[in-house]
Amino acid sequence: MSITNDFEYVKPKSLAETLKILVKNKNAMVLAGGTDLVGSLKERTVAPDLVIDIKGLKELKKIEKKGGAIHIGALVTFSELIESKLVGKRMPVLVEISKKVASVGIRNRATFIGNICSAVPCLDSGPVLVAMGGFVHVKSRLRTRKIPAEKWFIHARKTARKPGELVIGASIPLPREKNGACYIKLGRYQGEDLAQASVFVHLSLKNKIPLYQIAFGSVAPVPRRAHRIEKALNGRKLNHELVTEARNLVASVVTPITDIRATREYRLLMCEVMLERALLAAQERLNGRGPAYGVNLI
């Protein structure tokens, strides 16, 4: 299938130039990995007048540790996250998440930031960002904004980005103490799939007191942080009763729908099952045991 709409293409050399072009062209779209954009262009679901290719902005291709957080630049691909030593050491669950995204070929091009900009309900990058209290960093000609992840996702395919703004990266606070995390994604088979539902769990000890950070994907228009479940669990040690309590709260947190990928009933049921497995795996990992990051738990 070919692209039938005409559009201009520009590849700026600097961030300043990019922001200048962006503010002047209301109907422009930004190209990073292109794995979503090119598909949408072919299917004519978008029709920009101008495509701004930001692949020339080397400064956006960095993964850095800055001020107690991991910063992921707008051009960082999922493959680069998987290969990053920093990520592997300090936040291995990001490797686990990245490995669940599509297939190797897509991961070689698709970016983490592109994923949160497309903001489809089934995105894999969303739950970690909202659960960990991450930020999305945007820049326009006149100002820079740091948007909390939970405020970034407004609705399905709708974000807090304003016209003229470019997302330059995202940051995820690094946990200070002992921690374990887990991301489980439900798909229809073993091959690459969009999530029918997903769950992210982060468990850390702060002064030996357990702190839970939990979010679900694909079961609401946006990644849904499970504040209610977190509140019920925080400060309490994980055991069978607590897991049951957490499972029982799932239905009050997520609002799945029935669509071609799954029924509401199955999504609800699987959120419970996945939450249980993710909690247990996170705890095991915190204790230095448990399944290696990336192992299939469903």
């Binding site: 299938m1 070919s2 692209i3 039938t4 439900l186 229809r188 088979y189 073993q190 091959g191 690459e192 799939d193 969009l194 029935t258 071609i260 990928r261 799954a262 029924t263 009933e265 199955y266 049921l269 699987m270 099952v273 469903i298």
Partner: protein, 797 residues
Amino acid sequence: MSGYKYIGKSTVRVDGKVKISGAAQYIDDLEFGPGLLFAEIVESPHAYARIKKIDCSKALKVEGVVKIVTGKEFPYRFGLYMHDRYIFAQDHVRFVGEQVGAVIARTPEIAKRASKLVRVDYEVLEPVLDVVTALLDNAPLIHPELGKYQHVPWFFPEKNTNIAHFRKVRKGNMNEGFKEADYIFEDTYTVPRYAHCSIETHGAVGLFDHSRRLTVWAASQSPHTQRHLFAEALAPLGIKHKDVRVIAPHVGGGFGGKAGVSMEILAASLATAVQGSPVKVLWSRAQEFYNTYQRQGVVAKMRFGVKNDGTITALEQKLYWDAGAYVEYGANVVNAAGLSATGPYRIPNVYIDSVCVYTNLPPGGPYRGFGYSEFLFGLESHMNEIAKKLKLDPVDFRRKNAICEGDTLNYGGKMNPSGLLECIDKVAKEIEWGKKRVSKDPRKAIGKGFALFWKAPAMPPNAASSAFLKFNEDASLNILVSAMEIGQGFLTVMAQIAGEVLGIPPEKIRVETPDTDRNPYEWQTVASHITWSTGNAVKKAAMDAREQIFDIASRALGKDRNSFYLEDETLKSRTEPEFALSLKNFVINGIMMKDGTFRGGPIIGRGMFMPEFASAISDPQTSQGGKPNVHYTVGASAIEIEIDRETGKITIPKVVLGVDCGKVLNPDLLRGQVTGGMLQGLATVLYEEMRFDSKGKLLNANFTDYKIPTAMDVPDEIVSIFVEHEQPDGPFGARGVGEHTMIPAAPIIANAIEDALGIRIKSMPITAEKIALALKGLDLPQASRAEPPVCFQKTST
């Protein structure tokens, strides 16, 4: 054991190098120069509507648009077994995506842009989207002219209904059979529609030159049948068969989808609208899903009569097929399944209705398995349920009733040689039937499933194959045939057959894809009949060449031709061990006599095969008489699965398939067929399914939501077991096997799930979701499909 030099050996693919080197050209690789035009199809957005008006004026103004064609230019019907299909929709559209017109332009982009500007006014009609509605007395007639359609003599359409074909099989006396039974077991099973999902989509290029010669390059399983259908459909333009040429490059997968004629008719007819310019039609992945053939859905209602000891006394099986908007090919799936819907069992009293029902969904058609996968899901699931209720072992119960050589078939003929019992025993042993394994993981349940299968080629009784075989100066060979290499390894096996007869190693034999001008006739590459039928033709061509060699040598050398034999590219004599004449010395240039003259000349073999014993003529009320099927290939299959009780997800440690294909000509290629077929079949039961909305639009015309297996979904172990009871009329004893390897996949899974969890799921696919919800006592909304309102006791006409 056999004494064969090349037959039964794992000869390396003769088309391997051309494919792995990238030299192989597929339809979209062919170059046609700067004059090539591109067509984009204007498609119906409605499942059923009357076309009021088509306005092309805006689209015609787009720069680069060459021509716009609609049904007005081609008011012709065509079809393989029944002429019920239109090149372009005439007054009505009958499914979402149906071609209403085409924009021909200089580039694909222009064609596509302009196609969106063609304005079609429709009067939208209420579509008929399921067999229940289609069979109601007051159902809208999808084809009011059905009674006038030309069709093959073995179809029985019922005019003024939506029944395009009604196959009735009546053997013995059903009522007596049920009286004899101690128990009667009744149930209903449903199977949805499926897509072939060839990696290469359909594509064709047509060129109607200024001498009025029509050439079509097509990704094809059926070059000669396409030539015939093009010539038939376009006869009003004065086109004869001799004027039509179909060239078939390499094909990226067929599975039945590229058989017959579907979108290729567009390239053929559009070419005549832009004489002198080649025009290309290339399907997108979405079009590949909604406007080629689909595997038909079926609702199967069955009733078994069984004695206490497990003897089956009667079977009533009613199959209602959702055949879609046009059934020119799909009705024969209905026919074939009807004739064989007992499965491989000896059942004395049989009553089968196989009903082909028009609906406003895309046209049904051939798909690997040709109806057998569909009815065997229900039948083999039901066999297990019967065994369970009678407290019989499901394998013993099957074995007791398994059909054997000489048993009477549903239409009265006799069963061919068969190693079914041997397959059952070997497969049961391999899967360690009866031995229960318990998972270390308490969340996992383990189960085993078993099923039998059979299938006969479904084809006209006079479906023929032919072959030319040409020797070259170095005694290498070119074989010209018109069957297609669609991954099965056909080209390699033909080289093995000719090589065996002529003493030539297969690597010295070239077999390629056809051009109907140069290559002799072949009906189609379908029905698992090519190795058997074309193999026979190639064998005869090789024997013809061999006889010519013997004749020439005997005439030139004055030796007894009966003493000759061929070995190692050399003519040898049984009576003179020292005599050896290298073939390369004379197969082109002949043998020189003492006076300097020559005897002989280029050796060209010719072979033809048609099953002269076959007949499709039988009593329409009973199907008795005739011999519609040339042979059945039978086998057994078993699986072990692990199910996660919480998620419903299945993993497969081991699957086994045992088949009697008469004679294994190439073990490696056959193992490839078992692996590929089994994966394809497992996907149909585990996750594939075409989903339509309430207006008849396909919701998952993409691989995002129509899942086919990846390497990660392959069972841990796939074991092939080959049993050989030779087919007397097959080349070296071979019979068909290509489709069979996917047929038992659905019931072995369904039976293994029942074994593991005690739940019987009666509708495909059996997804993880369906299992998990069933375990919770929840029914999946989309799984509960309506059943046809046909009373079982009512004996229809």
